[in-house]
Structures are given as C-alpha cells and as structure tokens.
Symmetry: C2
Subunit: 186 residues, 2 copies
Amino acid sequence: MGRWEPNAQGRLEEAALELYLEQGFDETTVAEIAARAGLTERTFFRHFADKREVLFRGRELAAALETAIAEAPPATAPLDAVAAALESLSEFFADRRSHARRRQSVISANPGLQERELIKLASLATSIADALRRRGVAEPTASLVAETGIAVFKVAFEHWLTDPTGRSLDQHIRQALAELRAAVQS
Amino acid sequence: MGRWEPNAQGRLEEAALELYLEQGFDETTVAEIAARAGLTERTFFRHFADKREVLFRGRELAAALETAIAEAPPATAPLDAVAAALESLSEFFADRRSHARRRQSVISANPGLQERELIKLASLATSIADALRRRGVAEPTASLVAETGIAVFKVAFEHWLTDPTGRSLDQHIRQALAELRAAVQS
C-alpha cells in the first residue's frame, strides 16, 4: 500500500468535480482525476470503486443515519428518530453547499448519474428501515417511515441547494417535515 | 407498418416473462421473445423500446395517475387526490397478481432491472407532482405529497404481492396510508 496522503478523498472529490464541470463526466478519466489531485490512480481506487462513486458518500451517510437512529431515546416515535437522524447530517453538509451545488449540476447533466443517485437514496431508505426494525418498529411502518424520511430529505436538500437566504439543511428538513405533517393531516 | 396483431403487447409481455424466468433476462433476445409470442421483431419494437421496457408500463400508469388527479373534485386535499388516483390502479392490477409476482422475481434477480424500476417510480412521482401543481398545489407540498404517495404505493404493492389473504391492491393502499397517517401524527 502507498504512503498516507493527507485528505486524499477530499482532494480526489474536488479534482473530479472540477474536471466533470470543465470537460464533462463521460470525457473524464480516473487517470486525469488522480493527476489533477496530485495522487496516483492506485490511491484513487483505494477510495472509490469507479469515477461515478466519487460523487457519492452513500456508505458514510448510511452509517451516520443508522447510528443516529440506534441512539435515539427508546420512547422516540419512528418518524421523529428518522427526522433527528436526517437533521444530524446538516453538520456534514454545512460547509459543502457550494460543493453540493456543483455536484448537483454534474448529476443533472448525466442520466446515468441521476439513476445512480436514485439507487443511493433507495439504499439509504433500506438502511433507515433496517435501523427502525432493530428498534422494534414493525412493518409496514418501518418501510413507510423510512421512505417518507427519504422523501423529506430529497425535497429539503433540493430547497437547501437553491435557497437564497442560506438557511441550514436541518432547518429545511424541519420545514419539509412540517409541510408533510400538514399535508397528511388535512 | 405491419398488420394489426390482436393483443400483441400482452402476448409479448407474457412471452418475455416466460423466457426471463426460464433462461434469465440477460440470456434472452428480442428475437426469441417475438418468436415465442408468434410475432415479428418489428412488432416488438412497435410496442417496446427494448427488452427491459417489456417489464414496465410506466407511461400508461403515469397517464392514468395524471388523469385521476386532474379529475378529483376541486376541494380534495392533495394527499387524498393522490391516494384515490393510486387506488384507481387497483382495477388494472386486479387480474395481474400472478403476472406481477413473476415479474417481481425477474426484477429481483437483476440489479439493472431494479435500477430501472426505481427510475420508473421516480418518474411516476414527478408525474404526480406535476399533476398536483396543475391543481394549484404549491411547492414543496406537491413534491412531498407525490413522493409520499409513491412510498405508500411501493409498500402497498409489495404487501399485495405476498398477501396470502388475497386482499386487493386498493385495500393495501388504504392500509398503508392509514399506517402512514398514524406514524406521522404520533
């Protein structure tokens, strides 16, 4: 294994994003990404399976959500546990809004990446449902609450990306959840 | 254009499903599907863009949902309009449970088809949100209700497929919606 490269993952993410925006996703090779980051292809493949995966942090997000749901107080209602878990991601995204916007414009330009994003979101829903079942939440509630949580996150994330007032992601999540509660109760 | 073939679409769907189950999706060609259905490849391509599309009726379902949402009485709450639209699909699926089960086992065996199914569901959510906005429902409510409706449909559909008591799809949709309301209100 090569020597330790400080923040290799972040440098590769940034280099990939720059190249995807400059010359297009399809036109960019892993060799170019590694070169732009001042790293080797071998280092790239220690961090990411392929050049699509540079755009996703699915496993990290899933692990964070699962931990947060597991740690919610026992009496917490399933949707509240999921909402709190999603809001806890806000800190991770706090200084990444510009990165997230540029990432979104790469994804919007490429149907294959849009598909990949849907798969990542579906897989997050599965992780959330699993975490809820481990708390004793029965089906179909576990799946319904998980899918609903992802729907809230998706809508909140889109609004956060384009919000001119710069409110934080957790504020957008709380607002989307309030809108959902109003829509479901009416 | 060739002559009119009675129920060509249904025959091609059935032939494709049989072949996918017998020999696998990847191993099956359009030529084999057409031959099994007693039709030509040209007829196949009049009905479906490729061999994946035989498994999906996305455009038909989207059109049915959009019409049902447009026709809901003006005072209907957004989620109720979406629920009624989803329940109206029950008739289409009523005599297709065996077909739907076999189709699901083909899809479960193939990651590419699972991705395609996620895309079709996301596209149905987009159609629902569009139909709601045409009724004057504002964002983010339109998107939230649309995504939630699809979450309810997904869970209800899975339960309907495996339900030993044979309750209809609309009953499963109503039950999933009731569970969701309970989870959101608690």
